[in-house]
Amino acid sequence: MISTQTDPVTFSLGPLLRGEAEVIAGWITRWTAGHTLRQVALIATGAGAFGAAMGSWRAPEQAAFAAVKLPLILLATAAGNALLNGLLAPLLGLNLRLREAFAAVLMSFALAAAILGAFSPLMAFLVWNLPPLTPGAAENVTAYSVMLLTLVAVIAFAGVTANVRLLQLLHRLAGGARGTAARLLLAWLAVNLLLGSQLSWILRPFIGSPGLPVEFLRAEAWHGNFFESLLNTLRQLWPEF
């Protein structure tokens, strides 16, 4: 077997993907602006490429919009919850500094973005093979289902992998205390999902309905919220809900 030596200081994709907890813990504790910039660039490239592939099904302009919006959600979630995540860490038993908590969350987002970026050529190939989105076309229903299922599978894979790596990192930073690491991960997941889902709601559409114009934000972007919409959908399905 081949052994490779990894520079413990420089941020690179390989150790991040392999989950080399010691190297990643080194990045978190010896935080530099360079690391943050590289992670931001990785998020912009990976999530941007995936957004572009996804949006290209609707129109080239939609591809450009989604390429900006998807990384924006990840970065805005990390930045918007930086203080809360930093406060939750010591409260739940892991004495991380604010910047360490931010770096850990950003690292997991960068990993998810790298995976999304790697799948973006496959998404583009899928889009190439799907019938174009046209208003009222019956074949759109099947194509939309295929697209939705693929998106859910890829995003779920990226999200789960990133969180497994984050859990391994927190476990190490917590000195092997599994309970502390799991509690903190759950808390971070809850607050990041809360903010991330609402940001996604505001920044919709990512693919766009064929009957509506292509635009960066819907006119009613700031009306309602993700959970309200979810509740309304459930009420339509089960009126007694």
Partner: protein
């Protein structure tokens, strides 16, 4: 429970019964003389040597013929040279060139079924299709390899994929005479499509074996991620045959199907089989006339 089955407490020697005779201590030489030497452990006997330990691993790979010999007979040599890092781009280029060259030849055999424009269109589309499939699947292969613990760099991953494709397409060349013979003696598009598909699956199986060998040397801890990637690669390559249709059947005015005619590969196969089924009675009558 029988007390004698219990282990004695640590540190305390078990008490000897007065009736128990004292046995003399046998010298170690007695055992050495009477007992045969234990056979080597099977694991140790079959343990894989590390790269470069075998002098055959270090033999330079020169030219296309060297690449063909290495992927077929000495896959470890390819992995060793990929790992060395020096001139890796030349080796990766050679592997891909061999793969694309072989698949172009096999493409001509595919095109020989319909003839005419398909003599050049089929090899062109099949070669381009393989290159695009490899290109769009390479990033996810790198990601899956790293997630499974592999320390391979992108160049090494590209080389491993190139080696797998070179081996798979080399096997296709081996199948080519059989494919050509069937091409000339049958008029069923569905049958020929199934035959080429079968050959491609067998060839891919050997390519995957090469890939797994390479990644074992690159430190892969688990093959599950690689297995998921193989499924993705197969799906992409099968869909590519539909996106670039027709490959087996007659040339249809344009190189690619019209933009509005998007199909999933399973739907395309069903349609092809139905169309072929409608032509079957006429083919049967023609065949019987020849009896």
């Amino acid at each position: 429970m029988n007390e004698s089955n219990l282990n004695p407490p640590p540190g305390a020697a078990p008490e000897r019964s007065p009736s128990q005779p004292v046995l003399p201590t046998l010298p170690a030489a007695v055992f050495a003389d009477t007992l045969p030497a234990p056979p080597p452990l099977p694991a140790a006997a079959h343990a894989e040597r590390s790269l470069g330990e075998d002098p055959g691993d270090r033999v330079p790979i020169r030219g296309a013929l060297g690449v063909i010999e290495a992927v077929l007979r000495h896959p470890r040599r390819v992995v060793f040279h990929l790992n060395q890092g020096s001139d890796i781009s030349r080796l990766v280029g050679l592997l891909l060139l061999v793969a694309l060259g072989f698949v172009a030849v096999y493409g001509a055999i595919v095109g020989s079924f319909s003839g005419g424009e398909q003599w050049w269109a089929a090899p062109l589309k099949i070669t381009a299709g393989l290159a695009v499939t490899a290109g769009i699947c390479l990033p996810s292969l790198y990601i899956f390899a790293c997630l499974s613990g592999s320390a391979a760099r992108l160049g090494e991953v590209a080389g491993a994929l190139g080696g797998a494709l070179a081996l798979a397409t080399l096997l296709l060349i081996g199948f080519a005479p059989v494919a050509w013979l069937f091409s000339q003696s049958t008029s069923s598009v569905a049958f020929m499509g199934a035959l080429h598909l079968g050959f491609w699956l067998v060839a891919t199986g050997f390519g995957v074996r090469f890939l797994k060998t390479a990644f074992r040397h690159f430190g892969l801890r688990s093959e599950s991620g690689l297995n998921v990637w193989v499924v993705i690669f197969l799906l992409v390559s099968l869909q590519m045959t539909t996106a670039l249709r027709p490959l087996v059947g007659p040339f249809d005015q344009t190189l690619l199907p019209p933009a509005g005619e998007k199909k999933f590969f399973l739907a395309h196969w069903m349609d092809s089989m139905e169309a072929d089924g409608r032509k079957a009675p006429a083919r049967g009558a023609a065949a019987n006339r020849g009896d």
